[in-house]
């Protein structure tokens, strides 16, 4: 059973979904426990796979579906391939999804009461799709899984409010363009290599002359495809509305994971399919792409500054963060790639944490504007602790993981001599500082009594510290959220710090993946 862990990651959500489809419509009460169970098992299997990866001498785990194995060194059926990068992503996805199920139980019942089974089935399949993307080693299978995660995503967004529906339509159009470009790119690779297995494509491509137009255009198509789906700056139009108007649980799942998984595909394609020599040296696009990502970071930060809606602001930060990672991956050195991958993990957790906080705040105050934060430190202290940690991480202050990802990215940028990228990173950190301290200040001080007010009684102060202000909204609406929401949020907040403190361990794992980059640098 041990060696079956890789497939179990995928099967748990899949069978969970089937089970709900069969039972859930008759017994809606079963949906939630089944989902939690499926996600927990999937998470356990992901951790198991991670352990397998660590234990394996080559650092990779191959799982062969249909049991055909390789014939003449050609994979004739679909296979799974887990290396450090995908193992980390799997653990990330499954744990985020697991925590989000627990977190969103209350919200699902409130926001979509008539569609609970639908919601959970789509949710599980979305997770299955995302996990499948990170684990599969077959380019076409990757496309199918991308489409599964997209289709479920469209629906999960569209069951939201009025605005969500229209943004979901845009998402369908853009998502289809992106996925189709990806499919076309895979076709271009197939026409030149005759295989779909990513490792085999790589080995066959080594024999193909570097100036092959089809390969070059295929690479371009794949990149444009994933850029559309990850909302890389000029192609980001669909994202802000889609995530901002989606139901809470959907937003909290999709915002941290979907763009990150697309970045994973980009990195996977660059490192494992085309190979760093091809991507960085033969093509020589690094300057262009890094410049584009600089623009993405700056533009995303500017847009974020101009928004007064909480979730809109966060979505534009996501756009900027995508620029971080694309730029990092294209810096053409191991530091930049390490930074990009590490940021992938840390940004997913940060975004997740922030979306959870915003979900709690919006659900408690009913106000989607920034002003919802006014005076929240007293009313919802625990939520605000989580918020503060996530905000510090977003700004990039030690010891949170946001600092270390920025560290690696900056280091990569300096080593590569891409100073405009370095500048953009710093600019965006400062913008984040402005954005989040504005909120922290609002949450901390608004409605607080100023110095010189008549009330100076110590006991009274204590009462105010812990209870609601007598003159503010009624207590029951602003009391702290239920623990099912707070617990996962706190876990993630602690995770942010833990990931920061143990960053060298994580980068050591990533080191295996970027090792061939080091070789490249050594050759120069």
């Amino acid at each position: 059973m041990v060696e079956q862990f890789p497939i179990l990651i995928e099967l748990c959500p899949l069978f969970g979904a089937i089970l709900i489809a069969i039972l859930g419509f008759r017994m809606p009460k079963l949906c939630y426990p089944i989902t939690v169970l499926a996600m927990a098992l999937s998470c356990a299997a992901a951790i198991g796979t991670f352990m397998m990866m660590l234990a394996s001498p080559s650092g990779t785990v191959i799982y062969d579906l249909s049991g055909w194995g390789r014939v003449n060194d050609t994979a004739i059926s679909i296979e799974y391939r887990v290396d450090a990068l995908s193992a980390l992503m799997l653990v990330l996805i499954s744990s985020v999804a697991f925590l989000n199920v627990i977190y969103s139980k209350v919200r699902v019942a409130q926001e979509t009461p008539s569609k609970i089974p639908h919601f959970y089935i789509l949710y599980l399949l979305l997770v299955a799709g995302l996990e499948g993307i990170t684990i599969t080693n077959d380019a076409f299978n990757l496309y199918v899984l991308v489409e599964i995660s997209s289709l479920t995503g469209y629906a999960l967004i569209a069951i939201g409010s009025k605005r969500a529906v229209i943004s979901s339509f845009n998402y369908v159009i853009m998502g289809t363009i992106g996925a189709s470009f990806f499919l076309l790119g895979v076709g271009y690779l197939y026409i030149k290599t005759g295989t779909l297995n990513m490792s085999d494509i790589r080995s066959i491509m080594e024999a193909i002359p570097d100036d092959s137009k089809a390969i070059k255009v295929g690479f371009m198509l794949i990149m444009i495809g994933v850029w559309v789906k990850m909302a890389f700056f000029p192609l980001h139009g669909w994202l802000p509305n889609a995530y901002a108007y989606a139901p809470t649980a959907t937003g909290a799942l999709m915002a941290p994971l979907v763009t990150k998984v697309m970045i994973y595909i980009m990195i996977r394609m660059m490192l494992s399919v085309f190979g760093p020599e091809y991507v960085y040296e033969t093509l020589g696009w690094t300057d262009v792409v890094v410049t584009l990502s600089t623009i993405a970071i700056v533009a995303g930060s500017f847009f974020a500054l101009s928004r007064s809606d909480l979730r809109k602001m966060l979505t534009y930060i996501i756009v900027a963060e995508v620029g971080y990672m694309v730029g990092g991956a294209w810096l053409a050195n191991s530091q930049g790639m390490t930074g990009a991958i590490y940021h992938l993990l840390s940004d997913a957790l940060m975004t997740f944490c922030l979306f959870m906080v915003v979900g709690i705040v919006v659900s408690r105050t009913g106000d989607p504007k920034l002003t919802a934060f006014q005076g929240l430190y007293r009313k919802m202290p625990i939520t605000m602790v989580g918020f503060t940690i996530a905000a510090l991480s977003m700004i990039g202050l030690p010891p949170t993981c946001g600092f270390f990802s920025k560290w690696y990215l900056l280091r990569g940028g300096i080593e590569a001599g891409q100073y405009h990228y370095v500048g953009a990173l710093l600019f965006s950190s400062l913008v984040n500082a402005v954005l989040f301290f504005r909120l922290i200040e609002m949450a901390y001080y608004h409605g607080a009594h100023a110095h010189g007010e008549p009330i100076r009684d110590e006991d009274h102060e204590q009462y105010r510290m812990h209870g609601a202000d007598p003159d503010s909204q009624p207590k029951e609406t602003l009391a702290n959220a239920p623990w099912s929401m707070l617990g996962p949020m706190l876990v993630v907040a602690i995770g942010l710090i833990a990931l920061g403190v143990f960053n060298s361990t994580v980068t050591e794992w990533i080191g295996q993946v970027v090792a061939n980059l080091n070789v490249l640098e050594g050759a120069n």
Binding site: I7, S66, I191, K192, K213
Partner: protein, 255 residues
């Protein structure tokens, strides 16, 4: 929306130019020795699948066995689509329902000729779809095509006799159950392989369960099983899609 048109035009010209530029590098159309056609993978499927699976239709063999995992997710895609549509359109409020009821009334008077024709066609269609499904190993077709046709027979009933007529034969919960069972049949087959100690979807081990089969024929039969699973799901979901879209999710009236 002129600016959008210009943006689109520029995008299209650039992308089109790129793609046309790359076609120059393609092997000639129809070249049997092109990398794709002459790859080890393709040759393996053509030359070995008869030995390994005993299925003459190479597409079926590759679809249901070598790339069976893909096909399982293809089924899941269909399943997702049906659920997504139900989730998006959802149950309407009572006021909407009343409005649609009024507009639906004009469909109430059904054309006798349509109904009679449908009655003639539907059994043939269903029988043929079963043939397509069952004969997928030897001829074009298989679970997916058979399922679509079977689903189409229900759509035909709905077109001719109104959606309630079709729903009385296959209700939405029933269809969902069927769809779930279809995916379960597919995934379950894979799971059974796993329980017998092999990898997921490695059908050959099923010869322990299926009487009078060897490893090759186990694959052959397992493929039929999963194709039936596909057909279940596709039948159910095609009908659900039609039912939901033709009534805006209210499941009344119809075209």
């Amino acid at each position: 929306m002129a600016p959008m048109k210009i943006v689109a035009l520029i995008t299209v010209i650039i992308t089109g130019g790129l793609l046309l530029y790359a076609t120059g590098d393609f092997p000639a159309w129809g070249d049997p020795l092109s990398p794709a056609n002459n790859s080890a993978l393709s040759r393996h499927y053509i030359e070995q699948s008869r030995v390994e699976t005993a299925v003459p239709n190479l597409v079926t063999a590759v679809l249901a066995d070598y790339r069976g995992y893909d096909t399982m997710f293809e089924t899941v895609v269909v399943f997702v689509a049906g659920l997504a549509i139900l989730a998006v359109l959802g149950q309407g409020t009572s006021r909407e329902r009343a409005a649609i009821q009024r507009s639906a009334e004009r469909y109430q008077e059904r054309d006798m000729i349509n109904i009679m024709t449908a009655r003639l066609i539907v059994p043939v269609l269903q029988l043929f779809s079963l043939y397509v499904l069952a004969h997928g190993h030897y001829s074009p077709g298989g679970g997916f095509q058979g399922g679509v046709m079977f689903g189409a027979s229900f759509i035909l009933i709905a077109l001719a006799g109104g959606l309630p007529e079709a729903l009385s034969r296959l209700s939405i919960p029933g269809a969902l159950l069927l769809a779930g069972l279809g995916v379960l049949l597919y995934g379950g087959t894979g799971l059974v392989c796993m329980m017998l100690g092999q990898n997921f979807l490695d059908y050959h081990i099923l010869h322990r369960l299926l009487p009078a089969t060897d490893a090759v024929m186990a694959r052959y039969h397992a493929m039929l099983i999963v194709e039936i699973g596909v057909a279940f799901t596709v039948t159910a979901i095609m009908f659900i899609i039609y039912a939901a879209l033709s009534s805006r999710g209210r499941m009344t009236g119809g075209l």
